[in-house]
Amino acid sequence: MWLSSRELWTTIHGMGLGAGFLLLFTGTWALLWGIRSGWVTTVGIEVHRRLASTVAWLMAAFAWLTVIVGTYIPYIWYRAIPPDGADLTKFPRSYLLAHPNLAMLHSFGMEWKEHVAWLAPLLATAAAYLISRFAPRMAEDSKLRNAGLTLLTLAFAAAAVAGMLGAFLTKAAPVH
């Protein structure tokens, strides 16, 4: 097979679930931005609510799956301790730490990525809940709507940091 199982899982984690989350964020944000009583009819608000709720819950599900898969599949391979004399290219954490010019990718990059990523599903779930329950009120109440938009943006920020660092890590020390 042209992809090893490790490469496949890493791809599912980053390019499938992670990228899916980032795409769904855009749609959710745009839909929520448009839920305003002055802009759309009451029927339009209900249509926006249904669509935004569906996309928001999908986004939250993608965020959860991304961090769970990432933590319990590739991360285990990433941090595995190599036996003496092993080929370090198969042990990304040890490989990075063995190269002083790359060590920061672990001590800063991976250390931040593995923790900050877990903020995204908490924030995305809160945003999805607000949208699905309060969208009609958000049409009138800018505080609630802005809170939803802010939570979405913060979830995106956490995921974007994790995704960007993940891309750098994969480039320097790919999981084979």
């Binding site: 209900e46 800063f108 923790h115 877990w118 924030l123 009609p136 939570l151 913060l154």
Partner: protein, 110 residues
């Protein structure tokens, strides 16, 4: 929009928002604590292949869900000052981000 949806109080929205802040803060505090105090790191090592990340994340999720349930039970019928709750939530989320930032937890850990 239905009258039921219009009649919703903002208490459960505030509960969800504040719980997300508490969850983020928990992750930040646990990340910094595991770096600063070795025994906490060992205590949170629930699953050896992932190390203490398993304990940090599971504890965070539990604290988040429990705090959400508690605040929702207290506020679901109430109209609360959402602006204040949201501001507090943003502070907690900010502290959560800070706690996961390696230069910060390395500084605290010495």
């Amino acid at each position: 929009m239905s009258s039921t949806e219009n009649a919703l109080t903002n208490g459960s929205a505030a509960a969800a928002t504040l719980a997300s802040g508490i969850g983020c803060l928990t992750m930040g505090v646990l990340t910094t604590l595991t770096e600063a105090v070795a025994s906490v790191g060992r205590l949170l090592n629930f699953y050896n292949p992932t190390g203490n990340l398993s304990g940090k994340t599971l504890t965070t999720v539990l604290v988040w869900l429990i705090s959400w349930a508690i605040f929702r039970a207290r506020w679901k019928e109430k109209e609360v000052d959402f602006g204040k709750v949201f501001t507090l939530s943003l502070v907690l989320i900010g502290l959560g981000f800070l706690g996961t930032f390696p230069p910060f937890f390395d500084l605290i850990a010495g």
